[in-house]
Symmetry: D3
């Protein structure tokens, strides 16, 4: 069966710092370089959410998707500090961990099988993606 | 086998209005919001067509692809009103229906198995995609 | 004196058709080509509004600018047909006339001397700009 | 005399927070909204530096401009917190103040009359510019 | 008097090499670095041409501008080598010299006073501009 | 199993010419049009490299990926002529052949199974991609 998908783009601005308590200061500096600077830095994050569509009868209406992402992701992350304001307790705030967290937050609020892919653009040259296993698509 | 693909970008400017005769005026307004405004609105549409490539010996030469898309899609949709000028008879002119129609129009003119994916960018934040089933790729 | 300016980007999607009642059908077709197609087409318009800033003490606060542009421009043009829904009575809906109209609508609502420039992006390759005379800047 | 200019694009990622000690917490919140959130947020800043060129005999060689901007701006701001790491002592870290500070830092290191304009893109919809007075151009 | 302008975007792909016969090989290498590599390199050049507009009665119709730029600039430079195919006899093929040459080629074919500005984007981070003197605008 | 990937963007500027010794001059001209012009042309190439990620414990650290791509791809192709400086001995320098070559050069230097996809943007409207077979992902 062919697959029709819809991708919607969302944005939030946030501060963060790459740092883990499992490492010493020197090790953190070695591992993360300037991304480990003490006072943090920040990004204009872009979030791309892809859901399966059923054509004219959408499986999950887009205005409902917008509401879910707005309430679950944008309000939580926009104009926040990812390290201090969020639940990245055991993990550094890398793009990989961020895209995993966004998937985990969205998945329970979207009908099973509809969520196909979540992407995060951190900078012009850096893109992270979490894709559902091919079997489940 | 690895897969090499080529994606070409095309554009057309068109008017449209989200509306279906199956619903009352109030229901249409509730379902589609401002996209249901009576006199319509419009977009700079971008169409991305992805075909399988055979490397130096292309399975379907790019200048031939350009001609097919130009004749089949761009001439038909560019500077038109999707509702009044096109064959969206039983369907609203959503991005999902548009990407399905573009696939249906292109598929018969491209060698079997070559067409991999059609994408439509409707606005900066809205992307629709129709992908061949993984089996047939 | 050096000049500090702030430019904010706004967007609306609209249909339009290049046509003037001063010309015959054939003359309209000759003058405007496919932009004269009877049922119209449309664009994702981008509007760039540039105002003079006074540094930390802004002459015209940005959230106030946003409200003015939202009420005066975006609500009026977004998801509309420029020909049928607007007051382009004596003029075709070219980018030049659109940028003039947007300036004329905004100027009375912005403190004298603050509005520096209005730009309209109609398509990827088409940009229109109305700039205050250098003397008044 | 016609004017030839060259514009180079630079980037830095930084955290910041809109806040001024001259206002109470409530007033800060009223003035800056979510941009006043306690732990700050951040952006991918783009800096555009425009200098006058003399054609083949450049007044200020581009590789020298790159070195000046790298040493004076990028190293200072990249992966930093604008509020905590910088000299915004009497001013909030608005785009207007940032572009003024960048101009003030660059001007003494560039031959008199060469620096024409400094621009800062804070987000996709927000652009700040500091231009030399027309007389001095 | 306020000024209305229209900017049109054109493109060409070309090879070039920064090199001048006035310098020795070592001096060329020192002055231009990798841009002096013997076999050259290339760019996707973008050309932005800005002309004054008279509103609905255009001083210089856009389709005429397109024809002039197509014949005078795009045909001459597209899929060419700027050093070997063009008249850069006494000058290196820098962006500054290119934008000067494009202005010199276009100016005689556009009504006096209409041409306001020519811009050349060489790479994502490099922009060159030739602007008519303010007096003549 | 879901898949997390990271995509990094790299760039190089290069000259090239579409031409094959297997064809006569006339056949080359017929096959490649203006891309066959004798002195060549050039592009700002963008290379997108996608690798599998293991979340916080990356399978292949990004700074190591950057070093590999910098040494293997950017240094080799940047400010070069693809036809004269490179090992495209039996093949034309099409985007398809370029993306295959980049994959072949990168694959031995990246842990088995990590490299998912290589993309090349040649022009605004032209994108080439080499993807690992789905089985091996």
């Amino acid at each position: 069966m062919p697959q029709i998908t819809v991708t919607r783009r969302y944005r939030f601005c946030a501060a963060h710092r790459l740092h883990t308590d499992h490492l010493t200061s020197d090790q953190n500096r070695a591992a993360f370089g300037k991304c480990n600077n003490p006072n943090g830095h920040g990004h204009n994050y872009v979030v791309l959410v892809t859901v399966r569509s059923g054509g004219s009868r959408e499986l999950f209406p887009l205005n409902q998707l917008d509401r879910v992402v707005e309430e679950t992701i944008v309000r939580r992350f926009d104009h926040r500090d990812l390290n201090q304001d969020q639940e990245f307790t055991a993990a550094t705030t890398t793009g990989e961990n961020l895209v995993k967290l966004i998937w985990a937050l969205l998945a329970p609020k979207i009908p099973a099988g509809s969520l196909v892919k979540v992407g995060v653009i951190e900078t012009r040259d850096n893109y992270f993606e979490y894709a559902a296993p091919a079997a489940s698509r």
